[in-house]
Every structure is written in structure tokens, then in C-alpha cells.
Point group: C3
Chain length 270, copies 3
């Protein structure tokens, strides 16, 4: 940790800007003009346009793997140019900068909050602020000034509440059944659910098998690794974010099981 | 500015190499072998293959956001291996390196040119130069040598003229009407036109409303931000590059209005 | 070379993780937490999911362009979480880290091997190792420790043999004919074959012309550069990796000739 703190400042970028344009590159240009020693890491730029929930999930499942002091900039911002606020939070040893649209809500539920402000200090913005690209004109320069040592408290007045995304809650029903949702589908076609270790604790503690139903498929039990299923066979396991995932060994569960984001999943004890 | 100049050298890369291969990664390897402290920024690698105009537009709308001294390397190069020249220009406090096919022409119209040469100094190339990948064999090592302090004038003999891309000019007609073109469509489906603030100055100075016609859609007036339209509704505004853009609030104008790059747009005062 | 060795450590990443998720970003976070000064280069993340051969080819054709001491991390790992081994090799002045599934086999055929071990030293892993994301939990931290000076020999016990991918061998037949295969198709639709300069040496040394047959197309002779063909016309040339490639000048050979990876190609002397 001490070693990491001695290194150059790390800034992560999470956006829906894609890589077909120069939006991300331009943000980096602005950052490096203010903080030449910043190490900039692309967290993801392929968030579905305007999908705040997706960005919130990706940030929440990723931030803890970065060194102390990291500055996370997240710009999925359908309200850009409107009166929506910009929030900066110091929490869990990191700093977070995002529009106040729910993007930070899943992350801030999980870490200890130290300071939270509404960003309004125009001295830290570019001289000319457009109404369509605050990533370049506000988020990038503010992040760079934070990396240069600016204090979160200097960015604006304290913010007490922030907006939240609607995280689907698992539903328990008769006989210990548990209904969940597919909240994310990754590149491999793995189906990430809203069912965590904690949520499944009661079900897993029972003796006896359980069946997982998703789409038209029933899966028996929870596997340890992909190789527990035959090639092309479906399985359920706890993925790298601690959520239950439905996968196909060396294949795409989304394609093979014809299941998409938002679909329901049911865990049925026997 | 002084602060930026003290930082490590910044090199941007703009290519049509895509990210499915290792072409971009290999260019970075070559650069870091010559200039280990270089900070390399991906400006964009998803330029439509061989689309020199698109690259010229992207470079022109991005370069000014980088710190003084930045080296911009742009390789969209359908003529690679032929007798086409390679140009290096020092202009506006930056350096630019690109094939002489028009790629630099939009940028160099806008900044003060200091020096321009035809790159021919083979001492700065890789020992073995292929006929298909000058990005790796010429552009990357030359950029790295520039970053290490090589003088632009040492790269080759002075170049006087460069090739130009064909930038569509707005056309004025009776009654103050103005005809323009869609020159770029971004990831969000925003339609960027060739109509800038300057071009529209006369029209905007008049009293009375104006209508913007694109495809089969008529849009009344110019908005300040996306939120000025209803969700899913079309609008026109000045985008982050200072060009008039047609957008759909939280949607894709390209999809919704069924308009593509090259389409005409008409601004009609009433 | 001396200059490069004095620079910060370079780590390349080659995966099939794609850029739609935060998997790659998270690996970088882990690396920077251990080795803040690491320079991380994306070699490619768009490898076809689970396509070990493609990754092996991309690594083999790219590694030599990186500075001495570079650490190459390659994670295309269908067996993650199973008993498959992880290999670290010091060879040709670089270090390579990959699952033992053939990924390193093409590269290690071409460079001098110094040390090769089976990675098992858990002191260098993250505290908690998932069964689905060793890129984050094992490969990233081990690479970072190598960058901080850890000795390859300390990672685990010596490994003698590694698995190999099945590289298709060119077949010679009567009359000096040579049959090869398309082993890679790049973003431009260039068709890379398994026929190298060395393999074609005998054919090329003969007097007289030769015809190259691929799909339903016959191409006469080997060109020097794309511009040797008319715009839209097919040609054969030695590409930047030293392999014979089939291309279309300013177009896609894959589309125009309707040829895919795995197709055969025949070189016929006349």
C-alpha cells in the first residue's frame, strides 16, 4: 500500500463514449495537460449508451482492485448540459467523480463515505464549457486537479443525498425458493445475476440439491469451475464478482440458453 | 503550460488499424523501445479503413486539447508502400506525422505552421522496412525519436505543399438558406454537420425563427442542450467541436431520422 | 537497448476479454497496486473467445517489437479454474506468462529459452483466488511482481514440456506445388497464410511465373505493395509478419474473395 501511494496518481475512466470517436482520447489530452504524470486506465468505454445501471454495476464490481488514492471518473450522462448535478465523493480510500444520476449509488453502498460534494468550482473546469461534452470540459480537468492534489472539499458545497439506480432485489417465496434477475451479460455470454453469496447463504446451508431455472433450462447444483460441465454444457457458479453466474463451458450461455439481460432466474431447493 | 512541458512526452495515435489485431500494440512496443518514458494516448483506431477524410476530421477536432509539445501520429494510409510521401509538420506548438494524403490538411488550415518536411531520414526508421506496415517501421520509430528530442528539420527536406481532403463547403442560396452536409456520425448517432458557428453567424443574427431540414425531418430552432427536447425527440445544437449537430435526446439521430454520413442538411430562416 | 533497459518495466496484455467489460481495466488496477511505475500495453483483447491458436499467432508475430525485459501476459484460458498449469518462461530477453494450453508454443519455437517454470508460488497471487478470473487473481499480480524484480525461478518448479497448438504445415506436391492455409484474417480483410519466405524460398528461386489460387481466384505473381494492384483488385504479397498474404488494394480480400480463416491456398509454379 505504501508503495502504491508513492507511485504516480491513477485515474480510471468509465464511459459510454465508445472507441469509434476521439472523445476518450481528448479527455486524456486534457488530463495530461494539467497532470502530466497521471496514469490513466480505461475501465470501460463500451457501456450501452445512456445505460446508467450498467455503468453503476461495472464501477461497483471493479473499483476495489485499484490502489489507494485512485480517482475514478465515470461519465454516462444522459442529462449532460441540463441542471443535473456532478458529484465527487471520497470513500473507501478512493475518489469518485460522476453525474448525480445513480452511477455512484451501488459503489457508495459498499464503502465508507468520508466526504461528498456537489462539484461547482469553475476554476477547475476548462475555460469554455460546452453543453454536450462535460467529460472533456469538466470531468477530465477536475479529475486532473484532484490528481495534482486538489482537496475534494474545495470542489463545491457538501452533498447529502445522491440519486440511486434501481437495483432489482431478489424475491424469496414458499419452500425456500429464490427469484433473481440477470443484471449483466459479459463478452463471453456469461449471465451475471443479482444473487450473491450472502443472498444464497440460507439456501446453500440446507442439505440436499438445488435446481437453477433460467429460460427453458434447468441446471442442477452449483459448480466450482467451467470445466465441471462438458464442453458446450450449461452450469451455474459464483463468478469473479461474487455473484451467481450462468455459463456454458467454452461457449456463450446468452446464445445457447437464449437468455438476455433482465430475464428472471429461479433457485429451487429440493 | 510550463507544467505540461516538464512532463514526459505525449504521443497520440490515430489509425484505421482497429483493435482486433496487434498492430497498435506493436507500434507502442517500437515507441517504448526508443523512448521508454513516452506517454502514448490512443486518439482513435476505429477509423473506417482507408477513410482519410474521417481521420482528418477527427485529428482536426481533437489536437488542440493536448498539451504543448504533443506528437500526433496519424496513419490512415491506403498508399502505404507506394511512392506517397510522409509529412512531418511542426505547427501550433505540436508536431504532426502522417502520410501525405490529405490527413493533415484540415488541421494545418487552423494552426500556425512553423516547419514542414518530407520524412526521408532512414536512420530513424526500423532497420527493415516492410511495404505494408509503415506504422510500425517508420511512423512509430520517427515519433519516438521526435519524443527523444530529434529536430523536425532533421527528418528530411522541406515540404512546401501537401495534399488536401475535399471538405464540403456550405452553399448559400436565396432567402438566406444554407445547405450543408453530414460529415461525421458518432457512436451516439449524433449527426455532425459542416456548418460551424462562423458559417451560421449571419443566419443566427437575423430576427425570427429558423427551421433545420434533414432527411424527412424538420427541426425548429437551435437548442442549448439535449434535455431541451423530449426523450426520443430530435433537436439541433452546437456540439462540442463547434459544429451544428442533429441529435435525438437519449437516442440515436442516425437511426431515428434514418440519415447517414454525406446526407444534406438545410437551414431555412423564416 | 541500454536506454530501453533503464526505462520503467513494460507489461503487455493479450486476452480474449474484450473491451465491453472491465476485466482488462481491473487487471491493470491490480498491476498498478503492486508495481505503480509499470507501463502497460494492450497487445490485443479481441481474440476470439477461447481461440488459443489465434492468441498464439498474435503473440508470436508481435513480441519481438518490444524492448528487452518486456513481460508478456497472455490470457486466453478456456481451462481456467481446472488443473491446467500456468507457465512462465524467460526467453529471448523477454518474460512470458500464460496458461499451458499452447499459447506460448509458437513463440518459444523461435527464441532461445533460458528458464521455464510452472507458476505455483501463491505468495504472489491475490489473497483470494476465484475459479473464473485468474487474469485478475494470478496473472496480473505475478506479472507485477516480475516487474518489481521477482525472479522467474522463484515462481515455481521447473517446467520441461509445454502443450503446443496445432500449426498447419504447408504441404508440397508434384511439380513444386505448395498447399497452405489461411491462419488469420485481419481487420482489413487481409488473408494471412502459413507460407513464409523460408517455405517459399525454393519456389521463388525458380525462373518463371507462379499462380496463387485461393477460393475461386487466381493471382499471378507476388507483388511488392498494395498499390501494385488496381483499386479493388486482388494481389499476393509478403505482409509485415513475413507471411504470404492475400489482399485487395483498398478493400477486403476476405469479403471480395469470400475466403475465411482455415481456407486452403495453393502456390502453382508454371
Amino acid at each position: 500500500l505504501a508503495r502504491a501511494r508513492k507511485g504516480p496518481p491513477v485515474i480510471t475512466l468509465l464511459t459510454d463514449f465508445g472507441l469509434e470517436d476521439t472523445y476518450v482520447g481528448v479527455m486524456k489530452g486534457v488530463i495530461l495537460g494539467i497532470c502530466p504524470q497521471a496514469v490513466i486506465v480505461d475501465l470501460c468505454h463500451q457501456v450501452t449508451p445512456q445505460d446508467v445501471f450498467e455503468a453503476a454495476y461495472l464501477l461497483c464490481s471493479s473499483h476495489e482492485y485499484f490502489p489507494p488514492g485512485t480517482i475514478h471518473v465515470a461519465v454516462v450522462d444522459p442529462g449532460v448540459g441540463s441542471s443535473r448535478r456532478i458529484i465527487c465523493a471520497e470513500a473507501g480510500g478512493h475518489r469518485f467523480l460522476a453525474p448525480d444520476n445513480g452511477l455512484l449509488s451501488l459503489t457508495l453502498k459498499e464503502v465508507k463515505l468520508d466526504t461528498m460534494v456537489e462539484v461547482s468550482n469553475k476554476d477547475l473546469f476548462l475555460d469554455s464549457v460546452s453543453s454536450t461534452f462535460h467529460g472533456r470540459d469538466i470531468f477530465a480537468p477536475v479529475a486532473a486537479h484532484l490528481a495534482m492534489g486538489a482537496d475534494v472539499a474545495k470542489l463545491g458545497k457538501p452533498a447529502v443525498r445522491i440519486r440511486k439506480v434501481d437495483f432489482p432485489k431478489p424475491v424469496r417465496s414458499a419452500g425456500g425458493r429464490l427469484k433473481g434477475r440477470i443484471i449483466h451479460v459479459d463478452r463471453f455470454g456469461n449471465l451475471v445475476t443479482n444473487l450473491t453469496h450472502l443472498v444464497l447463504h440460507g439456501v446453500l446451508a440446507r442439505p440436499g440439491k438445488l435446481t437453477i431455472r433460467v429460460g427453458r433450462t434447468g441446471i442442477e447444483g452449483i459448480s466450482k469451475s467451467y470445466a465441471d460441465a462438458d464442453e458446450g454444457g450449461p452450469l451455474a457458479l459464483f463468478g469473479s464478482t461474487g455473484h451467481l453466474e450462468i455459463s456454458v463451458n467454452q461457449g456463450s450461455a446468452a446464445e445457447k440458453l437464449k437468455v438476455q439481460k433482465g430475464a428472471t432466474i429461479e433457485v429451487v431447493p429440493q
